[in-house]
């Protein structure tokens, strides 16, 4: 159980995280938010990379200030490998850093690389790998020491659709005994993998809901309307996207106010997220 209590983080005068309160139990959480909302900062605070300005993080009843021994797996937003070392050697280095037993090292490395489909690249040096391959190794290193708290920051960035599916499979095997927090912009990944979604905006947590509940927020607020007709909408509205249908251009609109030019459509997770962010 991870409890975040009144967490604040400032960089100089800029308040990046404002009074974050949250409880994370075992399971998979998605972290959604616009750019600059503080998602990466929150993850870095959880990994003790940043000292907290105020507040506390309690991990299984022990404050992180006292030094929790919880094993944390972390995949940062920008991850790379040593160019000189092979994938296997890099994994051995991570094993050493994460204090994996020497006797189990070989087996664990093979398992983790197998899970991310990188076994055949074990002996390839870092400089020869593509961005996506490096990302996969990053996912592997995050899981190498059977962590209890796993933090992924944009894990599927640079991965092809097949690998993204693979990643979802890997993630689905976690979450029973671990707490997994995935920060991403790809809503489909959240939908496919996460039990609950944390929505952040302007350094604050707006809500912590299940995917269904988040979709439910947009219930009755999502409409389609022809381009040009949006002027007739009374009240506040937000154009989510534009699409073409039968030669006509339509808008997908979020609004509380129904009117004759608007045609209701079924909401999806993205709609719920936008409703929270735009306060509709």
């Amino acid at each position: 159980m991870i409890e975040i209590k009144h967490l604040c983080k400032n960089f100089g005068r800029k308040k990046v995280l404002k009074n974050i309160n949250c409880e994370l139990s075992e399971g998979i959480y998605g972290l959604l938010g616009p750019n600059g909302s503080g998602k990466t900062t929150l993850l870095r605070c959880l990994t003790n990379l940043y000292p907290l300005t105020s507040g506390e993080i309690w991990i299984n009843g022990i404050s992180s200030k006292r030094g929790s021994k919880l094993r944390i797996g972390y995949l940062p937003q920008f991850f790379g490998l040593y160019k000189e070392l092979t994938v296997k050697d890099s994994m051995r280095l991570f094993c050493n850093l994460k204090k994996v037993k020497g006797s189990d090292e070989k087996e664990i490395i093979e398992e983790c690389l197998e899970a991310v489909n990188m076994s055949q690249y074990q002996d390839v040096s870092g400089r020869k790998l593509s961005g996506g391959m490096i990302r996969r190794v990053g996912i592997a290193q995050a899981l190498i020491h059977e962590p209890k708290l796993v933090l992924f920051d944009e894990p599927t960035a640079g991965l092809d659709p097949e690998e993204r599916m693979h990643f979802k499979k890997v993630i689905s095997q976690l979450g029973k005994k671990e707490t997994v927090l995935i920060s991403t912009h790809i809503v489909e990944d959240i939908e496919a993998s996460c039990d609950r979604v944390i929505v952040m905006n302007h350094g604050e947590i707006c809500c912590v809901l299940s995917c269904k509940e988040l979709v439910g927020i947009a219930e009755g607020k999502v409409y389609a309307c022809k381009k040009g007709d949006e002027q007739q909408i009374p009240g506040k509205y937000f154009i989510e996207k534009q699409y073409e249908e039968d030669g006509e251009i339509y808008y997908r609109i979020l609004t509380n106010e129904a009117c004759e030019v608007l045609t209701p459509v079924s909401p999806v997770l993205e709609d719920g997220y936008m409703c929270v962010i735009k306060e509709i």
């Binding site: 870095r44 990994t47 003790n48 990379l49 030094g67 021994k69 944390i72 972390y74 995949l75 940062p76 920008f78 991850f79 790379g80 490998l81 040593y82 160019k83 000189e84 070392l85 050697d89 051995r92 280095l93 991570f94 050493n96 850093l97 994460k98 204090k99 040096s125 870092g126 990053g138 290193q141």
Partner: protein, 600 residues
Amino acid sequence: MFFLKCKQFFKSPVLVLATVLYFTWIIKKLLPGMIPEEGSVADAMTFPLVFIPVSFVFFMFFSYALFSREGKSKVNEVILTCRNGKVRSCFCDLCLILFINAFILLLFILFLGLQCDKALGSVQMDVLWFGIRCYLIHIILVNIFASLTGMAVSLIKNEIKAFAVMILLCCCFSQFFLESFYRLTGDHLDLQHMMDLFGLTTRMYHATADYDYIFSVESVDLQRILFWIFLVLTILAYHLLQRKKRFFASCCGAVTVLLLVLYMLPNGASYINIDMNAENISDAYDEEDRYYTTHTEQTGSLEHHESEEDFKITKYVADIHVNRILKADVEVYVDKPELETYMFSLRHEYRVTSVEDERGEQLNYRQEGDWITLQPEDAGKHSKFVFHYQGASKKFYSTSQAVRLPAYLAYLPFSGKRYLFLDFVQKYGEQDVSQVLYDGPLLEGPGYKTEYDITVDSSLKLYSNLPEIESNHFHGISDGVTLMANTFLNAEEISGVRVVHSKADPRYFLHNAETDDDMRKMWRSFIVENDLQGKTIFALGVVHGLDDNYRYFGEDHLVLMAPCTDQYQTFLKTGKHPYYEELTEEEILKDLEPLNNITE
């Protein structure tokens, strides 16, 4: 992890190439030193110091390249999230650097060992140990500091800024910076000493003081480099540690401050700033000249003077402590207690802290330059004065590394107003200096016999002309007391005469046994010819770059630089210093023969 770091290092072509070039350069520069022509132990010991400036730059940039890899490879964040991950990773990289340094040290020791073997006929542990201390303090620790600085600079994310900082640091520890700051400090010795904190890469091999002291490996040198190491460790502790960083940083900071305080304490470490052009640096090379040419009124150094003396000292009881500086408590018994004014002469480097009478009561005194004036209020009642003083001279050093206190140096108060400056004008007035054979005057001590009871508190083994009744406790009657000590001092009996000399002086210890025997033959003939049985000869190590040839001929001992032995004969014949005009060409050539034999 260390193995993986090594693997990573060997797979990095730039780093490997730089390291190979560096070692190739070291070996190529060391090799000419292996040629047997030179063979001087002291030079061999100090030659590797020529590598200091380039090593400093190399290790700084090398360690920057090593430690900044994580940032460039974007592995840093993952390492930081691991418990003590960054510290462990840096530690492994540091071990690699230490390994390279150990290899460098081994090379230097091998070089020194081979040179020792050639010069001394065997590898001698005291020479080797001195060399190791020299390399550890002046090269290895400086390299470690450079490496830690590179590590600290790698925390700067912008590469250009990092390079600019490193170039700036190289300039700060360069000769140029030090020279500029010496000029700004004027004659303030404390400020100069403070600026000397930056003198890490400016002590080069040719700054050897002399062949007795050789090169300073005193505590002040260790404190200098440790100050910088702990300063960088303070910065690193604050930025690298995740837990208790303030505690560790504070501890390192406290040690840094302590080392600075220790460094600033008075010290008598001897060194020469050969390449400095600034005129206001006080070093062993011209400390004496500079003082006496600037303090002419206090020393009367511009004119020829006769000494003024209206009492004699009948006994000295001296308790001398030698560590960073000399501290002395000296009881002086005078033959005329009725005088109203007593003038003593004590070298200006030793500052009197108090003077007491036999009852322990403080007396008023005035110390100006080399002279102390006592005017006790109740005249006629004092037959004993107790002087407490302390100080250090870089030329006549008295430290934990070496002691050179010849009888003619007023390190004990001499009676009367004496002109202690050992200058030609002082001694010979207007006479032409070129007339004097082998530059340098004949030096005088107290001038009469007195009883001496001297105890020296020092970790070194001292040699004196007086009989040694206990370890470093000397007692006897003589017309002057010489005290000498250093790591390489050796006393040997040659035809009943004790000859005290340094093993490291090339004129005493040459390459092969034949020349060594010749030297002994020369001493033997000199001793026999001049009836020196029962005396002690102190042969001083040559002072680097100077032509000074000290000669002191006392009743029970001689202090001279070999081979000035010929002049003693002339002194015995004529009672005065020899001049070219008085000697025939044959006599001059004969006098020069011992010198020619040795230089061949």
